[in-house]
C-alpha cells in the first residue's frame, strides 16, 4: 500500500500498446523507508505495480542503501543489498509471483573514493550475485541550494572530478562493470569530463541528467532547458554514455504534480516532458537510450501504469525498431540480460 494510493487511483487509463516487451531499467526495493509513498517496496508491492497492464518482462534494481549489513567493515556493507536483491530475483524466477524477471540485473553501490582499494568491494559484490550483478552507482548529485536535494555523503559539486574517486572508478572496466551516475543538471560537464577520461567504461546517466526545477531553479524552465540541451550534445558525443529516460517526476524536478488535486494523465505527463525525451533521443539515438520508471520514487507523481503510458505516447512517432530499443533492447545490451 502506497500512502497516495487513493490519490493515484483517480486516474485510470487503458494500457497503450500492452503487448510491447519492456525492461524497466530502474527501480528500487526497500523496507522501512521514511519519506517515500511506498515505505515498504518488496516483492508484493513491486508486483502490484508490474501487474497493472504493461508487459514488463524484466527489471533492473538500482542502488538505494537497502539492507546494508549492520556490522562488519563499512565499505563491505552494501554487499548485503546485493544478497538481498539477488534473493528477490530468485523468488521471481520461481515463477510464483508473476512472469517478470525482477532484478535480472543488479546495480548496487561501492564507495569509489576508496580508490583502488574498492576492487575488493567490487569483487565481493560480484560474488554475492554472480549471475545478476552488473555494476555500481555512485551518486554525485549536489547543489548549493539545499532545496534541490543532495545525494548521501556528497559534500560538494565535484565528486566526479576527484582523483581518488577516479582511482576507484578505474577498477570498474577491468571487471566488466557498468557505472551509473546521478547529477543535477549544472554538474553535467563533470560527467562529460569523467566519460572522456574513461572512454572504455559504460556510463549510464540517470534521470535525463537531473534537471532541477525548484529552489533557485524554480520558474526558469526555459532557460534551464537551453543550458541542459547544450550539455546533452556534449554528453552524447561520448560514445560510452547511455541515457536513462525518466526519473523527472521527483519533487526537485519542479513540475509539482504531487501538489495537484488529481495526478497527471499520461497525456499531461507527455505534454509537459516530451521535449526532454525527444532531445535526448535525438542526440544519443534510441540504441543509447532506455526508459526507466524510477519507482517507487516517481510514484509520488503518477502510477506505474500511467507513467509507462506516458512513455508510449512520447515514443509514438518513432519507428518500431527504435521503440524496441527504447523500451527493451538497449537495456538488455547494456545490462547483459
Amino acid at each position: 500500500m502506497a500512502t497516495n494510493d487513493d490519490w493515484l487511483a483517480q486516474v485510470q487509463e487503458d494500457t497503450i500498446d500492452p503487448g510491447r516487451p519492456i525492461c524497466d531499467t530502474h527501480h528500487h526495493l526497500w523496507d522501512f523507508r521514511e519519506g517515500r509513498v511506498d515505505s515498504r517496496y518488496l516483492m508484493e508491492e513491486l508486483q502490484l505495480d508490474l501487474q497493472t497492464g504493461h508487459n514488463i518482462v524484466s527489471t533492473v534494481f538500482v542502488d538505494c542503501h537497502a539492507m546494508y549489513r549492520a556490522s562488519g567493515p563499512e565499505e563491505m556493507r552494501p554487499v548485503g543489498e546485493v544478497e538481498f536483491v539477488n534473493g528477490v530475483a530468485a523468488m521471481a524466477e520461481s515463477g510464483m509471483y508473476g512472469e517478470t524477471k525482477v532484478a535480472a540485473g543488479i546495480i548496487s553501490h561501492a564507495n569509489l573514493t576508496l580508490g583502488s582499494q574498492v576492487k575488493g568491494v567490487l569483487e565481493a559484490l560480484i560474488t554475492a550475485a554472480p549471475d545478476r550483478f552488473r555494476g555500481i552507482r555512485h551518486n554525485g548529485a549536489w547543489d548549493a541550494d539545499p532545496g534541490v536535494g543532495n545525494a548521501r555523503n556528497v559534500t560538494g559539486p565535484d565528486l566526479y572530478l576527484e582523483p581518488k574517486f577516479r582511482e576507484g572508478f578505474a577498477e570498474l572496466e577491468p571487471l566488466s562493470l557498468v557505472f551509473e551516475g546521478v547529477c543535477r543538471h549544472p554538474q553535467l560537464p563533470n560527467f562529460v569530463d569523467l566519460a572522456r577520461a574513461f572512454p572504455s567504461t559504460t556510463m549510464v546517466l540517470n534521470h535525463l541528467g537531473g534537471v532541477a526545477g525548484v529552489g533557485v531553479y524554480a520558474g526558469k524552465h526555459e532557460e534551464i532547458f537551453s543550458e541542459w540541451k547544450k550539455s546533452i550534445a556534449d554528453l552524447a558525443a561520448c560514445p560510452n554514455i547511455i541515457m536513462k529516460l525518466g526519473g523527472i517526476n521527483m519533487e526537485y524536478a519542479g513540475f509539482g504534480w504531487h501538489e495537484k488535486p488529481k495526478p497527471a494523465t499520461s497525456q499531461e505527463l507527455c505534454d509537459a516532458t516530451k521535449r526532454y525525451y525527444e532531445t535526448a533521443i535525438e542526440h544519443f539515438g534510441p540504441d543509447r537510450c532506455m526508459f526507466e520508471s524510477n519507482f517507487p520514487v516517481d510514484k509520488v507523481s503518477c502510477s506505474y501504469h500511467v507513467l509507462w503510458n506516458a512513455f508510449k505516447r512520447i515514443a509514438k512517432n518513432y519507428s518500431a525498431e527504435e521503440r524496441t530499443f527504447l523500451f527493451h533492447d538497449t537495456a538488455t545490451r547494456v545490462y547483459s540480460l
Binding site: D31, M67, R69, A70, G80, V82, G87, A90, M96
Partner: protein, 337 residues
Amino acid sequence: MAANDQWLAQIQEDIIDPDQPICDPHHHLWGHRDGNVEPRYLMEEIQQDVQSGHNIVATVFIECNAMYRISGPKEMQPVGEIEFVNGVAAMAESGAYGKTKIAAGIIGFADLQLGSRVKGVLEAQIAAAPNRFRGIRRTGAWDADPVISSGAGVTGPGLYMDNTFREGLAEIAPLGLIFEGVCRHPQISEFQNLANTFPDTTMVLNHIGSIAGVGRYAGKRDEIFESWKKDMFNLATCPNVVVKLGGINRDYNGFGWHEKPTPPSSQELCEATKHYYEIVIEYFGADRCMFESNFPIDKVSCSYASLWNSFKRVAADCSANERAQLFHDTAARVYRL
C-alpha cells in the same frame, strides 16, 4: 498469520531461562505452501516466532522445495532456493527486522542420485551463498503404510543403500559440506549403514529418527520405543552422526496434539517426549545433539514459545555446559556459524 493462531493463543506461558542463547538449527521459509498452518512463512512470519520471548541468536534454514527455478536444467532448479534464502539472511543481517541471524546457515537440496554429476550442482549452491551454504538434505523417508508420509520423490525403502545415491554422497565431504538425512524409525539402520560407509562425512539425523505413531504403528508406542532405542544406541557408535532433537510433533508422530481443544503446555510436551530426548542425549552426548524447532511444520501442534519452553524443561537437569551445547554450541560447530 498462522491458520491456528487462535487455537495456539490459548496457551500463554512465561519464558523459561529467557537469556539462554539459542541457535534454531532447523526451520523452513516459503512463500505459498498449501496445507501448512503457515501458507506464507517469510521474514515477517518467522520474526513473530523468533521474537516471542526466547533468545534466538541464529537459525539454520533447511530445504523445503521453496522458490525453485521454474526453468533451466532440472538439477539446477534448487539453486533458486539457496539464492532466495541467502537474500532473507541478508535482510536479517541488516538489523532492520530483529537481532536474530536468520539462515546464518543454509541447507539446500541436490539430487544425489545424479551420482558424481551432482558435484556441479553442489558447486552452484556454494556459489549462490558462499558464506552461508553448508550442505544438503536428501530425505529417504518412506513407509509401506501410505498414512505415514514419505519424503518427496522417495518411491521405496533403501534410497540410502542405492549405489548411485552413494556415488553422489561421496561428493559432499570433499567440498566441506555436510549431509542431512530423514528416515522413518524402521529405516535408522539404513542411515547407520550410510554413516559407516562415509565416516568422514558429517551426517545430521533429523527429528531423532522420526518415530511414527499412526497407521500400522498406532497403539504400539512402547514396543516401538524399545526398537528405536536399540537403533539409536547402535547409531551413536558412528562418531560422524549428529542428531537433531525435535520434529516429533507432527501428525504422523501420533501424539494427536493438534486434535485437542487446547494445545499442549510445555509441561505436557515435556512429559510426553522427554524420554526420547533423554535417551538420545545419553547415547550421543550433548556435543552431538541440538534442539530444533522444525517450524512451521511443528507449529501444527504448539507455539514456538511453548516448544522451546518444553525443550528447556527437558534439559533442566543437564549441566550448564550441556545446555549450552544442546541449545547453541553443537549447532554453531556443526554449521560453522
